[in-house]
C-alpha cells in the first residue's frame, strides 16, 4: 500500500509562507489516493520555484529547460504510455516561455497532467510580471504597470476543448488534492491551474486576496457543457470559480499511433525480416 511517506520528505529552498508547500502536500495526497507507486510516476518540470517541487518528491524526474516541459512529457508518454506522466511548473514556464507547447498539448490531448503553480509573477527571477499578471501590476521592469491583458489559461484550454480543465487554490488544499487526483485519473490532457500567493514578490494577489474570491463551483455544475464552461472560464475578479470547469472525453493522443498498440517503444527490437523487405522495395 502506498503511503505519503513513500513520497519522501525533503528540505526545500522555498520562502516561509510560500503557496508551494500546500501544493506539494496536495500533490502527495493525490498520488497516494491514486494508489500510484513512486517508481511508476514520471514528473517533468521546468525552471522556477514551482519547477523545484518534483525534486521534493520521491519520483522519477526530468527537470528540463524553462518552458519546455510539455514537449519532454509528450516524448516520455509516447515512449512509454503505461506510465503516469505529470508536468509541474509555474505560470512563466507554461504560459510564457512555453506558450506554443501549451497550445500544442491542448490540441493533442496527450494523456499528461499539467499542474501549473500560477502565482501571477516570476518569483525565482525576483518579481517581473508573468503572462497571468493583471493589467496595471507594477514591477521593477513594468514600473508603469503591465500594459498587456493577462493570459487566461482556463479559457484557452476550454476553447480548444482540452480533456480536463480545472482551477484550484493552494489555500484549499483538500479540494486541490481531489482535483489533482481526478486530473491524474483522466485519460487525456488535464490542466490544473493552481492559484497561489507569492509572499515575496506579489503583494496584490495575496493569500487573503485569493481566499476571499475563490469559490467552489456549485454541485449541479455540468463540466461537460462547453458553453457554460466558456462562460465560467471567463469569470474573474470578485468571484473566481475553482473546481473542474470542463471535461471532454475525446481520445488521448497516444491512442492514434499504431506502433503503441503493441506496448511501449522501449526495449523493442527491430524486425530485420521486415526491414529487409522494406529495403527490397527500393529496388
Amino acid at each position: 500500500m502506498v503511503t505519503l511517506k513513500d513520497y519522501g520528505d525533503y528540505e526545500t529552498t522555498w520562502c516561509p509562507g510560500c503557496g508551494n508547500f500546500s501544493v506539494l502536500k496536495a500533490v502527495k495526497q493525490a498520488l497516494v489516493a491514486c494508489r500510484l507507486r513512486p517508481q511508476d510516476v514520471i514528473f517533468v518540470s521546468g525552471i522556477g520555484q514551482a519547477a523545484k517541487a518534483p525534486h521534493y518528491l520521491n519520483v522519477n524526474l526530468f527537470d528540463g529547460l524553462h518552458g519546455r516541459s510539455l514537449p519532454v512529457a509528450t516524448g516520455v508518454k509516447l515512449a512509454n504510455p503505461k506510465k503516469t506522466v505529470i508536468v509541474e511548473s509555474g505560470d512563466g514556464c507554461n504560459y510564457g516561455e512555453g506558450g506554443n507547447h501549451f497550445l500544442a498539448a491542448l490540441r493533442r490531448n496527450i494523456d499528461v497532467t499539467l499542474l501549473v503553480h500560477n502565482n501571477q509573477v516570476y518569483g525565482l527571477t525576483k518579481g517581473q510580471a508573468s503572462p497571468t499578471s493583471e493589467t496595471g501590476f507594477v514591477t521593477k521592469v513594468q514600473p508603469e504597470g503591465v500594459a498587456s491583458a493577462p493570459f487566461n489559461p482556463v479559457a484557452v484550454a476550454v476553447a480548444l476543448r482540452a480533456g480536463f480543465v480545472a482551477r484550484g487554490f493552494s489555500g484549499m488544499d483538500d479540494h486541490l488534492a481531489l482535483i489533482i487526483q481526478e486530473a491524474i485519473a483522466h485519460r487525456g490532457f488535464s490542466l490544473v491551474d493552481i492559484l497561489q500567493p507569492c509572499v515575496s514578490f506579489n503583494k496584490v494577489n495575496t493569500f487573503s486576496w485569493y481566499k476571499s474570491r475563490c469559490k467552489e463551483l456549485p454541485p449541479d455544475y455540468d463540466p461537460t457543457n462547453w458553453e457554460a464552461a466558456m462562460k465560467t472560464a471567463e469569470e474573474w475578479g470578485n468571484n473566481i470559480p475553482v473546481g473542474i470547469l470542463y471535461l471532454n472525453n475525446r481520445p488521448a493522443f497516444e491512442s492514434h499511433f499504431p506502433a503503441l498498440k503493441e506496448g511501449p517503444l522501449v526495449g523493442k527490437g527491430v524486425d530485420q525480416g521486415l526491414l529487409a523487405k522494406i529495403l527490397d522495395s527500393y529496388r
Partner: protein, 568 residues
C-alpha cells in the same frame, strides 16, 4: 574520367519534372546502370526553373558533371540556360516549336503525342527510346510509381509512354545508346535522406520528431512511411524546440530517438543540445545543410554549418559529428551515431546537405541480418544499491536506468546536479561533474573513424574534404593523376573529434595541401589548424548554392579553362 552520360531534364515546377526524373532513374537502376542524381529546384511550387540531372554509367559513378550529354527541355528556359553546357556531341530533346538546330535537337511533337498533362511522360518515353531502355522496365517502373493512385491512371500513363517510345524508335538514328549491362541486379535506388532514415530504423530508432524544413523533410517523410510497419512513432512538432525536447523525453524514457532539421531549425534546437549534454541523454541529430544565414537559399546546398554544429549549445560537454560522403555512408554513419549516442549518453550529429540528401544513387543492398542494435544496455541495478543516475566513474559514463522499469527513481535535471540527479549549487560537486562529463570525450576519441587517405603518402597535391564533396574530390584527383600529377585525397567522414595522429602525417607529407569545401571560410581547414597547428593555405570554396563538381575543382585549380571543361 570514366565514360558516363549526363542527362539533364529541365522545366518549371509543376511540369512533373521530378516524376520523370525519378521514374527514369529507377528504370536505369533496374536496368543495371549506376546513377548519380543532382536535383536543383527553387523555393516555389509552380513556375521558376528546376532541373533533375542523372549521371549514368555501366560502371560505378561517384560524382556529378557540369557538362550535359542529353538535355531534355520541358520548357524553353531550359534551352536558354543549359544549351551552353552541352558537350560537343551533346544532344537536345525539346518541343518541335523550339528554335534549336535540328542537327543536335530532336524536335518532338509533344502536343501530338499526348495531352498537355502527360507531356512529361511523353518526354520520359522519348528519352527512354533514345538511350535504349526497354519498355518492360520503364513501363513497370511507371506502373509502380502510379500504382497507388486512382485506377486507370497507371494504364493511361503507360500508353503515353508506349506511344512516345514507338515514335522515337520510328525516327532516324539520333544519338548513341547507353552501352548494355548485364542484369539481373539487386541494386536499390536511394537518396541520402532515405538512407539516413533507414539506417536509423536498422539501428533501433523508435521515436522521431521534426518540423518540416528543406532539405531535411524527407527524412521524416520516409520514417512516417515505414512507422506503422516498423513500430515507430513519428511526430511533426509545433516547432523545432518542441521537436528536440520531445526526442529527449522519449530517449530519457528509453526509446532511441532522433531529430532532423536544417540550419535555421537547428538554431532553435540549440538549448536542447545543451540539455542533452547536461542530462546525458542519448540523441541523434541530423542536420541537412543549406545556404544561410537566416533563411538563405532554402532549396540549395552548402557545407557552412560545421562550426555551428560543433559549438552549438552553451557550456562544455562531449559530442561527435559525422559527415557522410555517399548514400551508403548516410546509412552506416547514422547507425554508428546511434551506437555512439547510446554509449556516451549525449548528442551525436549526422551532417548532410541538400545535394546528398536529394541525390538518388544506385546502391548495393544493405545486409540487415544480425545488425547490432543501439539501446540502453545496463542491466537493472539490484534494489539494495542506491541508484545514482550520474554516478561518477572513471570513464565518465554512468549506468543508465530507465524510469519506470525498476524500483529505482531516475532523476535527471538541467541544473547542475549531484550524483543522484538532484539540483545542487555545491561548487565542488559542479567541478567534479564537468570533469566527469568531459572524461567521456576520451572514449569518443578512441572510437573515431579516421580520415581516409587515397593515393601516395607524399603527393604533389593533397586534396582535403568532408561530407558530400567526397565523390567530386576523388574524381578530380583521378583526372589529375591521369594527366601525370601525383595527387592524393584525404576524406573526413567524421569531423569531430579530430585526432591529430590520424591526419597530420599525410598533411605534412604533401607538397601542397588544398582544402575543398562547400563554404566561404574553409571551416574544416580552420578546425584542422585549431586541432593540430597545421595551416592549409589554399582553400577551394563554393557557396553559390550549387554542389561542387569535379570540373569546379579543376577550374579553381587552374587545371581547366573557365570557358570549357576539357573533354573527359
Amino acid at each position: 574520367m570514366k565514360k558516363t552520360m549526363n542527362i539533364l531534364i529541365g522545366g518549371e515546377a509543376g511540369q512533373g519534372l521530378v516524376t520523370v526524373g525519378e521514374i527514369l532513374s529507377k528504370s536505369l537502376v533496374r536496368a543495371g546502370y549506376y546513377i548519380l542524381v543532382t536535383q536543383s529546384y527553387m523555393s516555389r511550387i509552380r513556375g521558376g526553373h528546376n532541373t533533375f540531372s542523372i549521371q549514368v554509367s555501366p560502371d560505378e559513378v561517384i560524382a556529378s558533371r557540369d557538362e550535359v550529354d542529353l538535355l531534355v527541355a520541358l520548357d524553353d528556359l531550359t534551352l536558354t540556360l543549359h544549351g551552353k553546357e552541352l558537350t560537343p556531341r551533346g544532344r537536345i530533346v525539346a518541343d518541335q516549336g523550339c528554335s534549336a538546330d535540328e542537327k543536335v535537337c530532336l524536335k518532338v511533337p509533344f502536343g501530338h503525342l499526348a495531352a498537355d498533362q502527360f507531356s512529361n511522360i511523353a518526354a520520359l518515353g522519348v528519352v527512354s527510346g533514345l538511350i535504349g531502355l526497354k519498355e518492360e522496365i520503364v513501363g513497370r517502373t511507371l506502373e509502380d510509381f502510379f500504382g497507388k493512385k486512382a485506377p486507370g491512371v497507371a494504364e493511361e500513363n503507360r500508353k503515353v509512354l508506349g506511344d512516345a517510345m514507338a515514335w522515337t524508335l520510328s525516327q532516324p538514328p539520333f544519338m548513341g545508346k547507353l552501352p548494355p549491362v548485364q542484369i539481373p541486379t539487386r541494386r536499390m535506388m536511394m537518396q541520402g535522406n532515405e538512407a539516413i532514415a533507414l539506417g536509423a530504423i536498422s539501428a533501433g530508432l523508435k521515436f522521431y520528431s521534426f518540423y518540416p524544413m528543406t532539405p531535411s523533410t524527407s527524412i521524416g517523410q520516409t520514417l512516417a512511411k515505414w512507422a506503422g510497419k516498423m513500430g515507430l512513432v513519428v511526430e511533426q512538432a509545433e516547432d523545432e524546440i518542441a521537436a528536440i525536447n520531445m526526442a529527449l523525453g522519449a530517449s530519457y524514457a528509453g526509446a532511441p530517438s532522433m531529430v532532423g532539421t536544417s540550419g535555421g531549425g537547428f538554431a532553435l534546437m540549440v538549448e536542447g543540445v545543451s540539455l542533452a549534454g547536461m542530462t546525458e541523454t542519448p540523441i541523434v541529430i541530423a542536420v541537412a545543410q543549406r545556404p544561410g544565414p537566416a533563411t538563405g537559399l532554402p532549396t540549395r546546398t552548402e557545407q557552412a554549418d560545421l562550426q555551428f554544429v560543433l559549438y552549438a549549445g552553451h557550456g562544455e560537454f562531449p559530442r561527435a559529428v559525422f559527415a557522410p560522403g555517399t548514400v551508403e555512408e548516410c546509412f552506416h554513419l547514422t547507425r554508428r551515431a546511434f551506437a555512439l549516442a547510446e554509449k556516451y549518453q549525449g548528442p551525436v550529429f549526422v551532417l548532410t546537405d541538400q545535394f546528398l540528401s536529394d541525390s538518388y544513387r544506385s546502391i548495393e543492398p544493405f545486409e540487415v541480418e544480425n545488425l547490432p542494435l543501439a539501446g540502453p544496455s545496463w542491466k537493472a541495478v539490484p534494489a539494495s544499491l542506491p541508484y545514482r543516475r550520474f554516478a561518477i566513474t572513471e570513464n565518465g559514463i554512468s549506468p543508465r536506468l530507465l524510469p519506470g522499469w525498476s524500483e529505482h527513481r531516475v532523476v535527471v535535471g538541467s541544473d547542475e546536479h549531484t550524483e543522484d540527479g538532484h539540483l545542487t549549487e555545491d561548487l565542488s560537486v559542479r567541478r567534479q561533474m564537468v570533469d566527469k562529463r568531459l572524461r567521456k570525450m576520451e572514449g569518443i576519441r578512441q572510437e573515431v573513424i579516421p580520415p581516409e587517405l587515397k593515393g601516395d603518402g607524399n603527393p604533389e597535391i593533397l586534396l582535403v574534404t568532408w561530407g558530400s564533396t567526397k565523390g567530386s574530390v576523388l574524381e578530380a584527383a583521378s583526372h589529375l593523376r591521369s594527366k601525370g600529377k601525383k595527387v592524393s585525397t584525404l576524406f573526413f567522414p567524421q569531423v569531430w573529434p579530430l585526432v591529430q595522429e590520424q591526419f597530420l602525417p599525410p598533411l605534412q607529407g604533401a607538397r601542397q595541401v588544398i582544402s575543398v569545401e562547400g563554404n566561404a571560410t574553409g571551416q574544416l581547414a580552420k578546425l584542422i589548424r585549431q586541432e593540430s597547428g597545421f595551416e592549409i593555405k589554399k582553400k577551394v570554396g563554393r557557396y553559390d548554392g550549387l554542389p561542387i563538381t569535379p570540373e569546379y575543382i579543376l577550374r579553381e585549380l587552374g587545371e581547366i579553362s573557365q570557358q570549357r571543361s576539357s573533354r573527359m
